[in-house]
Symmetry: C2
Subunit: 342 residues, 2 copies
DNA sequence: CTGTTAGCGCTTTCAA
DNA sequence: TTGAAAGCGCTAACAG
């Protein structure tokens, strides 16, 4: 059917020399006559010889493959991180295998097993919101497969980590709201088993505390996910309160957008009656009316840095045993959704 | 440092039997005594034996790897297709390698070369907007690597294709606008070398023609990309026209959103003065005010179907030589951005 | 029922 | 400067 690709022995046979000579000729080995070398190289080009990676992989016990596990790929957030990772690994000879855990711990475990089976050389992981233990991670570590965690932490698991300072981002956002005169600041919070969820909540609480604003339980809306629908739900509850908040700090842009939709629909002036602030700064957020104030995160850089750390582990196997713990800084992007007219 | 994984010969040595016996025991081979079989299986479990995929790959000349090439991963559109592809290939033993061409023909070619080098078993490709020839594709085809094209066509290239009927989607959208009373319908069109761009433009033109509305060159805004910024640009030009259009049909939601932002900012009533319709139906589109009318596409299903076609090629090598040419139907989702008050 | 052998494509000693 | 041989881990044909 299809002619199978040329091998070293094909070249050797045609030239009546040994396989090892051919191999040497193709690798700039010093001990080889100029004559045979050129002959080999010519024929190799003619036959369109490509080294068989499968054979090399077996020989080197390396797959040149990096595994990536994210909760989902269809979000601006994770796809941007992946973009950063890809950019760093391009031209390194490594290729990337991407899987989605879909926030399922069971799925995370089975993906991890599959990755172990195909013997990836290293892993970049953002754990699910359900992940509490790290036994499944450690199993791979014990096999000598390095893991770098990004975005989401898994407390108790020692590894290289690249996280964003969510606490600081939330603190910045809420302190800014206070500075613009808000006092009854609501927070729409995501599931508490997610570390970043707690960090943002704590940033919110501490900013209030710093400015001596007493925390009001009723102003904290806990929702079970991160989509606009969840924001819708929270905002509807909000509308039933005796006294409305004067600002909403949402866990992320998706929630903020859903909330803003409901509030505007109810005739509430944004930002004059209620300021709205999101988190993640998704590209379309600035096209809402009013454009959404949000906490920007260095997502692409997070991918780049995680990848760089993993690559250095892979390249320099003798690396010191200590783990890197990087904390990237987010940045508040102020837009109209929070600029109250004074 | 790390103990290397157990091999067949490890088991064989410890049990004082031959490697092939071990192999047979682990593969339910009929010719094997119950006794040795259980012994082998026990020890294998104890040693946590995992077949070495690298060796198997070399033996079978298969990598169990599928390559995916998309223009970008950070869009709802392509990440959803990928999601569909992943769901179909999960539990098939294949794993996926994803690369971005970033709309660069040169990059597409180099990715293709890399994919050939690592010997992927098959490829799923959505070509760049610059791709005009198919020589680089055919090179892989000649190596026996099947390719399935999705979303974007590459005219002149014979292969399995899974496309969406963009013409029909555009036609539906524009005919709907006409039915709601619009007569001066503008179109914001993407780069013409992109096949889907032309199909949507043609759908627009034919809908006008069918309803005897003469086409007005000035109402067709050609932009160089697909982001909200491009919509902003077009809308600003629009605002300088002597007579405004009464509707805008944008190439996609991104453009529509950018345009809507500018139009609303200029005090124009949407939909009463200008109806706005997008394409792709991104999840956040329904949270704009007014919520955006858009042409929904079966993106997830497109991924599923492309993957299914590729898988069947891979499984049944003796497949007939004919190519499948699937055309999925889009669907107009009507929301407030186009419901004029009569 | 089990062992021996060859081979997938390549690199790398060791000899010549 | 070149060749022969071993081995990476596994399967399968062929003998026993």
């Amino acid at each position: 059917m299809y002619k199978s690709p040329a091998t070293l022995s094909d070249i050797a046979r045609q030239l009546n020399i040994s396989i090892s000579t051919v191999s040497r000729a193709l690798h700039d080995h010093p001990a080889i006559s100029k004559n045979t070398k050129t002959k080999v190289i010519q024929l190799a080009k003619k036959l369109n010889y490509q080294p068989n990676m499968l054979a090399l992989n077996l020989l080197n016990k390396k797959t040149n493959t990096i595994g990536i596990i994210v909760p989902e790929i269809t979000s601006y957030y994770f796809s941007s991180v992946i973009h950063g990772i890809q950019d760093l690994f391009s031209n390194t000879g490594y290729h990337l295998i991407i899987s989605q855990s879909e926030e399922s711990f069971k799925k995370e475990k089975s993906i991890l097993e599959a990755m172990a089976k195909i013997r990836v050389d290293g892993l970049l992981i953002s754990p699910t919101s359900k992940t509490k233990s790290s036994g499944h991670f450690n199993k791979l570590i014990n096999d000598g497969i390095p893991i770098v965690l990004f975005d989401r932490d898994c407390p108790g698991f020692s590894a290289d980590k690249v996280l964003v300072d969510d606490y600081d981002g939330a603190f910045q956002a809420v302190e800014y709201l206070i500075r613009t005169g808000c006092r009854r600041i609501a927070h729409i919070s995501a599931p508490p088993n997610l570390s970043i969820s707690m960090h943002r909540l704590n940033g919110y609480l501490d900013a209030l505390k710093k400015h001596q604003i007493s925390m009001d339980e009723k102003l904290i809306f806990k929702v079970s996910g991160f989509t606009p629908e969840h924001g819708v739900k929270a905002a509807k509850q909000m509308l039933e309160m005796a006294e409305l908040p004067d600002a909403v700090f949402a866990f992320n842009d998706g929630i903020a957008i859903g909330a803003m939709y409901v509030l505007k629909g109810a005739g509430i002036q944004i930002p004059n009656q209620i300021s709205v602030v999101g988190f993640d700064d998704e590209p379309h957020s600035s096209y809402f009316i009013p454009p959404l104030t949000s906490v920007w995160q260095p997502v692409y850089d997070m991918g780049l840095l995680s990848a760089r750390i993993l690559l250095s582990k892979l390249t320099d196997k003798s690396q010191k045993e200590s783990f890197r713990d990087e904390m990237l800084k987010p940045e508040l992007i102020v837009r109209e959704s929070s600029k109250k007219l004074l």
